[in-house]
C-alpha cells in the first residue's frame, strides 16, 4: 500500500476517536458529579462519629478503580499466555502495559480505600482480607516489573516475564477469592449481600464502565508508545567512531 495523503478517511477516524474520548471524559465526569452531589446516601455508612454517611460517596471511584485494576491484571495474564503461544512481541508489550496500569489503578484503589477506611473504620489500614489481597497483587505485579528490569535480552525477558504473568493468572484466584474467605470476618461488605439501593449500584456500574474504558484507552496509547520505543531500539547500533 502506498503512502496515503491526509484524506477525509483519516480525518474521519481521528474525529471518531476524539468524539469517543470526549464522551468518555463526560461519562466519568457525570458519574463523579452525580455520585458526589446527588446520589442517595448508602445506609449503614454513618461513620464512627455518627456523621452523615457522606463519605460513602467515594464508592463511585473506589470500587470502579479496584475492578479496573483486577481486569487489567486478568488481561495481562491472558496476553502473557498468548505471547507464550504465538511469540509475537505485541503480546509482550500488551501485558507489560496492562500490568503497569493495573498497578496504577490498584494504588488508586488502595489509597481511596485507606482514606475511606479511616473515616469509616477508624484506621487507614486494618489488614482486612480485601486489603491483604490487593497488597499481595500489587507486590506480585511489582515483582513482575522488577523481573523485567533484571533481564537484558529482549527475547528472554519477554518469555520469562510472560511465564510469570501467566503464573499470576493461576495464583490470582487464591489471592482474590480463597484468601479473603479464610478470615472469619471482613469489614468489606459482600458484593452480593450488600444492600445497595439500585441507583447506587447503577452508578457504581456506570463508574466501572468509565474506568475500564479509561484503562483501555491508556493501554492502547502505552502499547503504541512501547512499539515505537522498540522500533527505535531495534535499529542496528552504529559502530563507535
Amino acid at each position: 500500500m502506498s503512502h496515503r495523503t491526509a484524506g477525509e478517511d483519516e480525518i474521519d477516524v481521528s474525529t471518531t476517536r476524539k468524539a469517543l474520548l470526549w464522551f468518555l471524559w463526560l461519562w466519568i465526569a457525570a458519574v463523579t458529579v452525580i455520585g458526589a452531589g446527588f446520589s442517595p446516601l448508602a445506609q449503614g455508612f454513618a461513620g464512627l462519629q455518627g456523621d452523615s454517611p457522606l463519605s460513602s460517596r467515594i464508592v463511585y471511584f473506589h470500587v470502579p478503580v479496584a475492578i479496573a485494576s483486577f481486569i487489567a491484571f486478568v488481561a495481562a495474564g491472558v496476553t502473557s499466555v498468548r505471547y507464550l503461544r504465538r511469540r509475537e512481541p505485541r503480546f509482550d508489550r500488551s501485558s507489560r502495559a496492562a500490568i503497569e496500569l493495573g498497578l496504577l489503578f490498584g494504588v488508586l484503589a488502595t489509597v481511596t480505600g485507606a482514606v475511606w477506611a479511616k473515616v469509616q473504620w477508624g484506621a487507614y489500614w486494618n489488614w482486612d482480607p480485601r486489603q491483604t489481597s490487593i497488597v499481595l497483587a500489587l507486590v506480585y505485579y511489582g515483582a513482575y516489573l522488577t523481573l523485567r528490569d533484571a533481564i537484558e535480552d529482549p527475547e528472554t525477558r519477554a518469555r520469562i516475564a510472560a511465564a510469570y504473568g501467566a503464573l499470576g493468572l493461576i495464583v490470582a484466584p487464591f489471592l482474590y477469592f480463597v484468601m479473603p474467605r479464610m478470615a472469619s470476618f471482613s469489614l468489606h461488605p459482600k458484593p452480593a449481600s450488600a444492600e445497595m439501593a439500585s441507583p447506587i449500584l447503577g452508578l457504581v456500574l456506570a463508574g466501572t464502565a468509565g474506568q475500564v474504558a479509561l484503562f483501555a484507552w491508556i493501554h492502547n496509547l502505552r502499547c503504541r508508545q512501547l512499539a515505537l520505543d522498540e522500533r527505535r531500539g531495534a535499529r542496528p547500533e552504529e559502530d563507535e567512531p
Binding site: 531495534a234 535499529r235 547500533e237
Partner: protein
C-alpha cells in the same frame, strides 16, 4: 529410496539475531547435508557463536528459518536439540563430578549404556576418575568432544573445536570427526580457516 534426496541435512535461511540494540547475525543463510562440513569463518564478534547457538536451539532467532532433517524426518526444535552434538568454549560440564560420572549422567538422560562413555574416555586418553574441575583446559576440551559424541549425534555443531588441544589431541578428535562424517554432518565455526576434511561450503560472517 531416492539417492538424490539427502537423508540428513541442516539448512538455515536469513537467520537474524541480536542482543538488544546490537545486531550480531544479520540474514545468514547456508545449508549442509550428511557427509559434509559447513565452515563458518569471521573475525571475533562477527556472530559465529551466536549463529551456532541458534542452530543448536539454545537461542531463538529473531527472524529466519531453520530446517533440520534426520534420516528423512523433519525435526522440530525440541527434537533438534536432542539430535545435536555441540562443542563450544562456553560449554561447561559438572566440575564436582568425575569425567565418567559426567558422561554416565548425560548417557542416562539419553538412555545410553554406561560402557559408551567409558569407551570414549579411553579413546580420547582421559582419566575417568578425575574430577572435571581438576582437568587442564586441553583435557576439558577433550571431555567436551566426548560429551558431544556420546550419543552418536547425526549433527555436530563445533565452535572453535580444536582450541587448547595438543598435537595428539587434535589427531584423536579429527579421527573421530572423520568417523562421524561417514554418517552425519557438521557445522564448524572458527576465526581462521581450519584444515578439515570434506568442507563442502563456507560462510564468511561479518562485514
Amino acid at each position: 529410496m531416492d539417492p538424490t534426496l539427502p537423508q540428513t541435512s541442516l539448512a538455515f535461511d536469513r537467520l537474524t539475531r541480536g542482543y538488544g540494540r546490537l545486531m550480531v547475525v544479520r540474514e545468514a543463510s547456508g545449508a549442509v547435508a550428511a557427509g559434509q562440513v559447513l565452515l563458518i569463518t569471521g573475525t571475533n564478534g562477527s556472530g559465529k557463536s551466536t549463529l551456532l547457538r541458534c542452530l543448536a536451539g539454545l537461542m531463538a532467532p529473531q527472524a529466519g528459518t531453520i530446517a533440520c532433517t534426520v534420516a528423512g524426518r523433519r525435526l522440530d526444535v525440541a527434537a533438534r536439540r536432542r539430535a545435536i552434538g555441540y562443542v563450544a568454549p562456553d560449554l561447561g560440564l559438572y566440575p564436582e563430578l568425575t569425567c565418567i560420572e559426567n558422561l554416565t549422567f548425560f548417557g542416562r538422560l539419553r538412555g545410553l549404556p554406561p560402557a559408551r562413555g567409558a569407551a570414549l574416555l579411553d579413546r580420547l586418553g582421559l582419566p575417568p576418575k578425575r574430577l572435571a574441575g581438576a582437568l587442564s583446559s586441553g583435557m576439558l576440551q577433550r571431555l567436551r568432544w566426548a560429551w558431544a559424541l556420546l550419543h552418536r549425534p547425526p549433527i555436530l555443531l563445533l565452535d572453535e573445536p580444536l582450541q587448547n588441544l595438543d598435537a595428539p589431541g587434535r589427531r584423536d578428535v579429527l579421527e573421530l570427526f572423520e568417523q562421524h562424517l561417514e554418517r552425519g554432518l557438521a557445522v564448524v565455526a572458527s576465526p581462521d580457516s581450519l584444515e578439515l576434511p570434506r568442507v563442502a561450503s563456507r560462510l564468511e560472517l561479518g562485514r
